[in-house]
């Protein structure tokens, strides 16, 4: 049974089981703490998956992903607090705003080679962060916008909603990655010149993938805004982008689902490390170095591969 075109039975079942497990998990524990942690983990999952789709497949690492997250979140904040619109409007609005930014930034920067694209995006994120601070009269400056209304008041229900969104996006992007789309993006990673020679409209594909990546990042940003009930310039920080990149590395670049695993693993791990709160970033950076050296294929994806191969004759 092919659940979806391009995704085989095992992966579908695996994904479904994982989803169910995550959904049920918080109900086993009393208190709202775990739900909170998992909600944040799921949102990071959305951000990681969206990053992986573009950067993991094309190999063009985007160091400024936080920009799309931030504009999505601020869009939600503005609409909700300054314009008084209901929270559900944030979802499409945040995606739209992020997509616009992706188009505007994508055109000039996607021509650049690897590190320069990365740094150009990084610079853009830094500029946005600065602008948020400079125009503090409109954006609330360092303290941001607060008093955002929640989308769904019950934390457990909201968690399930976010989980559903995560599942949906992962499914969609996995499907796209295994379709012709993904093939072309991977080809771009391999050798752009050949692609050009073959007559493929590379620029279009690159920009489209950035736009899709941005859209979901922005959506995640809005979900985050309605969870935290506030947005601040911290969202644009380099640290956010680096955290997401680490998650994807841990999960396995380009595998899409690996990003989700990485996000969940790292978020839960971070909360566990909360007692050593100040050490968190240290651990992150050390982990990144460790992975870059020893596990360039990540942790999650290779493990999944091994599990898959369990049932196969060697």
């Amino acid at each position: 049974m092919k659940a979806f075109k391009g995704l085989d039975t095992l992966s579908s079942i695996g994904g479904l089981v994982a989803l169910l497990f995550l959904g049920v998990l918080p109900t086993l524990f009393t208190g709202k703490y775990l739900v909170g942690v998992l909600t944040v983990a799921a949102i990071y999952g959305i951000w990681a998956v969206s990053w992986d789709f573009m950067s993991g497949l094309t190999g063009r690492e985007n160091f400024g992903h936080s920009l799309f997250i931030g504009v999505g979140a601020y869009a939600a904040g503005f609409l909700n607090v300054h314009f008084g619109l209901g929270p559900w409007w944030s979802l499409p609005a945040s995606m739209l705003v992020a997509m616009v930014f992706a188009v505007v930034l994508g055109f000039p920067t996607l021509r650049l080679k690897g590190p320069y694209f990365a740094l150009a995006m990084l610079s853009s994120a830094v500029i946005m962060q600065r602008l948020m601070l400079i125009f503090w009269e409109y954006t609330g400056g360092e303290e941001g916008i607060h008093d955002i209304t929640p989308l769904i008041v019950n934390p457990l229900h909201y968690y399930w909603f976010v989980l559903a969104v995560l599942g949906g996006i992962t499914l969609l992007l996995s499907w796209m990655a295994r379709s012709r789309w993904g093939l072309i993006l991977r080809a771009i990673r391999g050798d752009e010149a050949t692609c050009l020679a073959a007559g493929l409209p590379i620029t279009t594909y690159k920009i489209m993938s950035l736009v899709i990546s941005a859209a979901f990042a922005g959506l995640g940003g809005a979900l985050y805004a309605h969870y935290q009930l506030q947005v601040s310039p911290q969202l644009f920080a380099v640290v956010t982008s680096i955290t997401i990149i680490t998650m994807v590395y841990v999960g396995g670049m380009g595998t899409i689902f690996g990003a989700v695993g990485g996000a969940l693993l790292l978020t839960v791990m971070t909360e566990g490390l909360r007692n050593f709160g100040e050490w968190r970033l240290m651990v992150y950076s050390l982990l990144l170095i460790f992975i870059l050296f020893f596990l360039p294929n990540g942790i999650i994806a290779p493990i999944w591969q091994k599990i898959r191969n369990l049932g196969r004759p060697s």
Partner: protein, 411 residues
């Protein structure tokens, strides 16, 4: 054995394990003598945070020595909210959802507190603020009593009161005694300052000041030379500062090194630190900083508190400590009067608080905000003098020393 069944087995084992863990961790001890847990969200890295914790510890120890309250002892746990709203929110979540505290005492950055409010309200936990000054915090109590009745501010007096205190200082001392009418207002671009400066400007103008320039700079600024040059060329005779998170250390150093011919003073939280003068090589000499208490008998409790604090820590306390110490007792007294720990009953009693604190008498207005005024909590202006000594310059009744000019401006 198919993969599916392997997975099933694994999942069910895991599920069982988790179920057991869950049950174990959720078994709550319902005994009456479960201690009262105080959660302290504060900026642990800064002096403000450290002193808040020391003060809470002192109060908790004193209460426990007397047998606790209604048979229950007190204990406390802290969470670092840094100066960042994101971290602040996680700190609150950690304290309320995970540590399950009964009461929150803390706070420093107004922006962080504002971001935390909806989460505190959702957790239905009493919050006694001891460090954040923005009036917006207690405005919420008025706007939405049912949801925000949990919020109280024990200290400091809010930014509006502070502005008025500053205006008094300008009118009676800067203009009145020093004869300087031309002033420059310089502050960091944080919420509490944005609330404070308009009131300050208007008040100062009303008492005859000639405001030559007003500038709010980014809290992250580390090079103040353009700003200081602007102040100098504006013709101002005195620079009024409103600083808390900004790099006061660097500001003072650069002001001193460039020998800016404009004395300065005002609100400068970092300058309240006992070691401020020494850690910048004495370069804050002649700077005046507002403070809520010094080691002088403002109330019966002031001097003993200062001395006891010095024993527990290596320095004299900063402002958050006074209020954190008072906050614990205020809560304890409210519980005693209410005869129970039930939140709504305690809130009713908290509203009636009349407590002799370290810095003055603490009472709350209808917005749960600490009141200012004679006999209550007030500003006093303290100057750094030779060898790191501090002298109260204003108000006149509390004066302990003579005002000095910056060394390069002495005639």
């Amino acid at each position: 054995m198919t993969i599916a069944s392997v997975k099933k087995k694994f999942k069910s084992m895991l599920g069982a394990l988790l179920l057991c863990t869950g049950l174990l961790s959720s078994s709550v001890v319902l005994a009456q003598d479960k201690p009262v847990r105080i959660g302290v969200p504060t900026s642990v890295q800064l002096q403000v945070g450290r002193d808040t914790l020391t003060a809470v510890k002192m109060a908790v120890d004193e209460i426990n020595k007397k047998g606790g309250v209604l048979g229950r002892k007190f204990e406390f746990v802290s969470a670092d909210e840094t100066e960042n709203p994101e971290t602040g929110i996680s700190a609150i979540k950690k304290l309320t959802a995970d540590e399950k505290v009964d009461l929150l005492i803390g706070g420093y950055t107004s922006g962080v507190t504002l971001a935390q409010l909806p989460h505190i309200s959702a957790a239905k936990t009493i919050y006694l603020g001891v460090g954040a000054a923005s009036p917006s915090i207690t405005n919420k109590v008025k706007q939405d009593y049912d949801n925000y009745k949990y919020i109280f501010r024990v200290g400091p007096v809010n930014a509006a009161h502070q502005a008025r205190g500053l205006v008094d200082f300008i009118s009676k001392f800067v203009i009145g005694e020093l004869g300087y009418k031309k002033i420059a207002i310089v502050g960091e671009n944080a919420k509490w300052v944005q609330d404070l400066v308009p009131i300050l400007s208007k008040g100062a103008k009303d008492v005859g000041a000639d405001i030559r320039m007003t500038e709010l700079f980014d809290t992250q600024t580390s090079d103040f030379s353009p700003l200081l040059a602007k102040v100098k060329s504006s013709g101002a005779e005195y620079m009024v500062v409103v600083l808390s998170h900004a790099s006061s250390d660097v500001f003072a150093k650069q002001w001193h090194d460039a020998q800016v011919p404009v004395p300065y003073g005002g609100i400068d939280v970092k300058s309240m630190d006992g070691d401020f003068f020494n850690r910048i090589g004495g370069k804050s000499i002649s700077q005046i900083a507002a403070n809520f208490a010094v080691r002088a008998p403002i109330t019966k409790k002031t001097v003993p508190f200062f001395d006891e604090f010095k024993k527990n820590s290596s320095n004299f306390p900063v402002y958050s400590a006074f209020f954190a110490y008072d906050a614990v007792f205020i809560y304890a007294d409210a519980v005693k009067r209410a005869g129970s720990f039930e939140t709504d009953k305690v809130i009713k009693e908290l509203e009636k608080t009349k407590h002799e604190g370290v810095a003055g008498e603490i009472t709350f207005d209808e917005q749960h905000d600490v009141q200012a005024g004679p006999g209550k909590v007030n500003f006093m202006f303290v100057q750094w003098q030779e060898k790191g000594e501090r002298a109260v310059i204003y108000p006149k009744e509390l004066r302990t020393g003579k005002f000095i000019m910056p060394p390069w401006m002495k005639k």
